[in-house]
C-alpha cells in the first residue's frame, strides 16, 4: 500500500489527528467563551477610561454606565435604572437640543458638543463635552455617549481669561506709568530750567541767588530719586537684582534709620518713635542688609510723606521662625478698594493723590519685590483719615531657597 493511501486509511478510520467527529456545538461553545471574554475585557476597558460613558435609549433610559459615570454623576450602581438622562440635564433648552441631536444620531450621524449637566444627587453643575454615537443593544438602536468632565478645563479657561485681562491691565498701567513718570520728571526739570533762567537776571541779591540754587538742588535731588527708583525697578523687572545674605543686627539698623529720618519727621512736626521688644537684647537675622534698609527707608519715607500730623512708629516683633517689622502712621490712610493694588507696579494709592503728593509710585512695588526675594510677606492695615500700618515678615534663619536667588 502506498504511504499516501495508508495515511488516508488511518484518517478514514478516524485515528488521525483532528479526525474526530466535529459538531456545531463545541464551536458554538468556543464562540460563547470568546464573547464572554470579549465582554469581560470590554467592561474592564469601559470602566478604566477617564471619561464617563452612558449607553441609553432614545427616551433617555440608561442601559449601562461606567464607573466614572457613577462617580461623576453620583449615581449608585443599583439606582441607575430609575434615573433618566433628562435628570442630568436641567435646562429645558438643553433638553430640547439634545432630543434633536439624538434623532440625528439614531439615523447614523455622530455628534460632539458641550453642555452643562448636573449630578443626580445635589444637582451641582458639571460642564461637560459629549461625544455621541449610535449602537445596538438587544437588537434596538441606542446611543453611546462619552462624557468628558470639563470642570478643570473651564477653570483653566477662566484663569487664562483672567491672566489675559491682567496682562492687558498691566499694559495699560505701563502706558499710564510712562505718562506719570514723564510728568514727574518734567516737573523738577521745569524747576531746574526755570530757576537757572532766573539766575541769569541781573541785580539778584546774594540771598536770592542762594535760594534759587537751593531750589535747583532740591529739584535735582528729586529727579535723582526718581531715576534711582526707575533703575531699581527695571533691575527687578529684568531679574538683575541679586540677594546677598549676611548676619544683620536689627537693632543697629533701626537705630541708624531712626537717626536718619528723625530730622525729616521733626521738620514736618511729626513724632518718630522706634519700638523694640521689651527683652531689649539685640537680634541677629540672616538677610540682605541693603535691601532691608531700602525696604524700611521706603516705608518710612512714605509714612512721613502721607502723614500731615501725628506720630510715626516703627519697629519689630518676633514670632516662631520669623521677624515681623511694622511702620505705622496717623496719616491719610488708604481706601479699601486700593489696598489690594498698592503693591503692584506703577500704581499709586490714589490717582487724585498724584496732584497733591509728588512721586512716581514705584516705592511700594520695589519694597514688595525685595520682600518676595527675601522670602517674606507684606500687608497693610489702613483706614481713611486714621492712618496706615504696614507689616512685613522676614525669616529668622537662613533659608536655602533665598540663597539660590
Amino acid at each position: 500500500m502506498s504511504e499516501e493511501w495508508e495515511k488516508y486509511r488511518n484518517k478514514i478510520i478516524g485515528l488521525g489527528e483532528g479526525s474526530s467527529r466535529k459538531s456545531y456545538y463545541p464551536e458554538l461553545q468556543n464562540k460563547i467563551e470568546e464573547l464572554e471574554t470579549s465582554r469581560e475585557n470590554l467592561l474592564t476597558i469601559v470602566n478604566s477610561i477617564s471619561d464617563a460613558l452612558f449607553i441609553h435609549d432614545q427616551e433617555g433610559k440608561i442601559l449601562l454606565l461606567n464607573k466614572k459615570a457613577q462617580d461623576l454623576y453620583q449615581i449608585q450602581e443599583d439606582e441607575f435604572d430609575r434615573i433618566s438622562i433628562y435628570d442630568l440635564i436641567l435646562d429645558p433648552t438643553d433638553q430640547n437640543k439634545i432630543c434633536l441631536i439624538w434623532d440625528k444620531v439614531i439615523k447614523g450621524k455622530s455628534y460632539v458638543f458641550e453642555l452643562t449637566s448636573v449630578n443626580a444627587k445635589d444637582k451641582d453643575e458639571i460642564p461637560v463635552q459629549v461625544s455621541i454615537n449610535q449602537s445596538i443593544w438587544n437588537g434596538k438602536k441606542v446611543l453611546v455617549a462619552v462624557v468628558r468632565d470639563f470642570k478643570e478645563r473651564k477653570k483653566y479657561e477662566e484663569e487664562l481669561i483672567a491672566a489675559k485681562k491682567k496682562a492687558e491691565e498691566n499694559d495699560r498701567l505701563k502706558s499710564a506709568f510712562l505718562a506719570n513718570i514723564s510728568h514727574e520728571i518734567r516737573t523738577p526739570m521745569n524747576g531746574i530750567l526755570g530757576f537757572a533762567e532766573l539766575l541769569k537776571l541781573p541785580d539778584l541779591t546774594g540771598e536770592q541767588m542762594l535760594n534759587y540754587v537751593r531750589i535747583i538742588e532740591t529739584c535735582g535731588a528729586r529727579m535723582l530719586n526718581i531715576i534711582n527708583d526707575l533703575m531699581d525697578i527695571s533691575k527687578v523687572e529684568s531679574g538683575l537684582v541679586t540677594v546677598s545674605l549676611k548676619a544683620v543686627d536689627v537693632t543697629e539698623q533701626l537705630n541708624y534709620l531712626f537717626e536718619l529720618f528723625k530730622p525729616d519727621a521733626e521738620k514736618k512736626g511729626l513724632k518718630l518713635i522706634k519700638v523694640e521688644p521689651t527683652s531689649g537684647s539685640s537680634i541677629i537675622i540672616y538677610t540682605d542688609k541693603e535691601k532691608l534698609i531700602a525696604i524700611l527707608t521706603n516705608l518710612l519715607k512714605n509714612a512721613i510723606k502721607f502723614c500731615p500730623h501725628g506720630t510715626i512708629r516703627f519697629g519689630y516683633t518676633t514670632q516662631k521662625q520669623q521677624i515681623v517689622f511694622f511702620v505705622e502712621d496717623t496719616g491719610i490712610g488708604i481706601s479699601k478698594e486700593k489696598i489690594s493694588t498698592i503693591f503692584e507696579r506703577f500704581i499709586r494709592g490714589d490717582h487724585e493723590m498724584s496732584a497733591k503728593y509728588e512721586g512716581a509710585g514705584l516705592g511700594l512695588s520695589i519694597v514688595k519685590a525685595y520682600i518676595d526675594m527675601l522670602s517674606g510677606k507684606i500687608w497693610v492695615d489702613s483706614e481713611i483719615g486714621i492712618g496706615s500700618k504696614f507689616y512685613f515678615t522676614l525669616p529668622l534663619s537662613p533659608d536655602q531657597s533665598i540663597c539660590k536667588k
Binding site: R9, I12, G18, S19, R21, K22
Partner: protein
C-alpha cells in the same frame, strides 16, 4: 471468526454514527428535531423529484407546527454539481439560515453536506476534496433519506460532481456525519423499480466493499454481512412488490446497516471507479456499481478470499468442496445474475463508454481516496484493466 473460533480484531478502530431514528413516520419528527438543535431558519434541501411527492408537504407541515421558519432549495441534479452547492450556500446565507434539513436521495443529502461545509468554511467546495480536510464543523444537519441505498444520512462521505473537470469528488470527513437521521421506510414507496434496483445494488456494494475493506472492524463486519443478507433476500421481492412496506423496511434497514459499515470501514475500487464514471458520463451511481462490482470482485478475490468466501456463504452459494477460483467464479456469476434479475443487464459499452475513455476514467479513478481501503491496492493499470473488462 463467525463460528467463534477465530481470533477477533484488536487493532484500534472507531465507530461513528449519528443519532438516528428508524421507523415509519420518522420523517414527521423533522420539526421537532430542528427545534431541538436550535434551528431558527431552516434551509430545506430537496430536489424536483421529491417536490412531486407528498413527503415535502408533510415535512413542511412538521416545521410549521414547530413554528420554525424555512426556505426551500431544490435546484439539485442527480450527481449533484459543485456550482449547485455554491447556489445552495448563497440561498443559506441570503436567508440567514442556521440549520439544514435534507429530504431526498443521495444527491440531495450530499449536496446538503456540501452546502453545510461551505457555509461555515467560506471556501470553494473543491477545497475539501479528500480525507479530513474540513476545519470548521458545519451547521446542524438533519437528513431524511428517500432512497434505500445511499446511506449518506449516516455516513462520513459526501460525493460532489466537479462539473468542469467531469469527475466526482469524494469528501470524507467525520465533519459531514449528520446530527440526526430520520430513516423512514415509507419514503421508499416513491421510488420507481429502476431506482429501487440501482439504490439496492448501491447498498449491496457498500456492504461488500466495507466487509472486504482493510479498515473493517468487528463492528462494521456485523453490519456489512447483515446488510448483504437482507438485500440478497429482499431486494428482488421489494422490486416486484413496491408497496409492501415490510419489504421496503427491510431494504431501508439494510441500507442503514450498509451505511454504518461503509461509513466506518470505507469502500474500495468499485466506488473509486464508479465516482470517475458517474462524473464523466453522468450515469446513475447504483447502475455503475452494479456493472463494476463483479469485475472488482474478480480483481480483489485473491487478496481477501476468506472474506469473499464468507460473503459467498451469506449469499447462500454452496462452496463446499470447491477451490478458490471455483468459488470466485460462482460468486461473480451470482452477482451478475442478481443484476440481471433486477433488470440491469448492461455493460459499460452499452452506456456509451468507449475504449478511448478508459485512460481518462482511470486517471481520475486512481486518485479517489476509496482506493485506500481496497483489499488490494490498485495501480492505474489495474483500474484500466477492470474498466476494459467491464466494457
Amino acid at each position: 471468526m463467525r463460528n467463534g473460533t477465530g481470533e477477533i480484531q484488536l487493532e484500534l478502530r472507531k465507530f461513528v454514527a449519528p443519532e438516528y431514528i428508524f421507523g415509519l413516520s420518522a420523517r414527521l419528527l423533522a420539526g421537532n428535531f430542528c427545534r431541538q438543535l436550535g434551528g431558527k431558519k431552516v434551509l430545506l434541501v430537496t430536489d424536483s423529484g421529491i417536490i412531486k411527492t407528498s413527503w415535502l408537504k408533510e415535512v413542511e407541515n412538521s416545521l410549521i407546527q414547530s413554528d420554525i421558519d424555512y426556505v426551500i432549495f431544490s435546484s439539485i441534479s442527480p450527481n449533484p454539481r459543485d456550482y449547485e452547492v455554491m447556489e445552495g450556500v448563497k440561498c443559506y446565507r441570503e436567508n440567514k439560515c442556521n440549520i439544514i434539513l435534507a429530504l431526498g436521495g443521495g444527491s440531495v443529502l450530499d449536496a446538503a453536506k456540501g452546502i453545510g461545509i461551505v457555509s461555515t468554511n467560506h471556501l470553494p467546495i473543491s477545497t475539501f476534496e479528500g480525507v479530513d480536510k474540513i476545519e470548521r464543523p458545519m451547521p446542524p444537519l438533519i437528513c431524511i433519506p428517500t432512497t434505500g441505498g445511499t446511506a449518506a444520512d449516516v455516513s462520513q462521505f459526501a460525493i460532489i460532481n466537479n462539473y468542469s473537470e467531469r469527475y466526482k469528488m469524494a469528501i470524507i470527513s467525520k465533519s459531514v456525519v449528520p446530527d440526526v437521521a430520520l430513516i423512514d421506510p415509507e419514503t421508499l414507496t416513491s421510488m420507481d423499480s429502476f431506482l429501487t434496483a440501482c439504490t439496492g445494488i448501491d447498498a449491496l456494494s457498500h456492504a461488500f466493499e466495507a466487509y472486504v475493506s482493510n479498515a473493517s472492524s468487528a463492528v462494521t463486519d456485523l453490519y456489512a454481512l447483515e446488510a448483504i443478507r437482507l438485500i440478497h433476500f429482499n431486494l428482488l421481492e421489494s422490486y416486484h412488490h413496491p408497496l409492501d412496506i415490510q419489504l421496503r423496511g427491510k431494504i431501508m434497514l439494510s441500507s442503514l446497516y450498509a451505511g454504518l459499515a461503509f461509513s466506518n470501514a470505507s469502500l474500495g475500487c468499485v466506488h473509486s471507479m464508479a465516482h470517475s464514471l458517474g462524473g464523466y458520463l453522468d450515469l446513475p451511481h447504483g447502475e455503475c456499481n452494479a456493472i463494476l462490482l463483479p469485475h472488482v470482485v474478480d480483481f480483489n478475490y485473491n487478496s481477501a478470499s476468506d472474506r469473499y468466501n464468507i460473503i459467498a456463504q451469506t449469499l447462500n452459494i454452496s462452496i463446499s468442496g470447491l477451490n478458490e477460483s471455483q468459488i470466485k467464479k460462482r460468486l461473480i456469476d451470482h452477482l451478475k445474475s442478481f443484476n440481471q434479475s433486477l433488470g440491469i443487464n448492461s455493460n459499460l459499452s452499452d452506456k456509451q463508454v468507449t475504449i478511448s475513455d478508459i485512460p481518462v476514467l482511470s486517471a481520475k479513478a486512481i486518485k479517489d481516496p476509496c482506493n485506500a481501503t481496497n483489499p488490494k491496492p490498485p495501480i492505474k493499470r489495474d483500474i484500466e484493466v477492470i474498466y476494459s473488462e467491464a466494457m
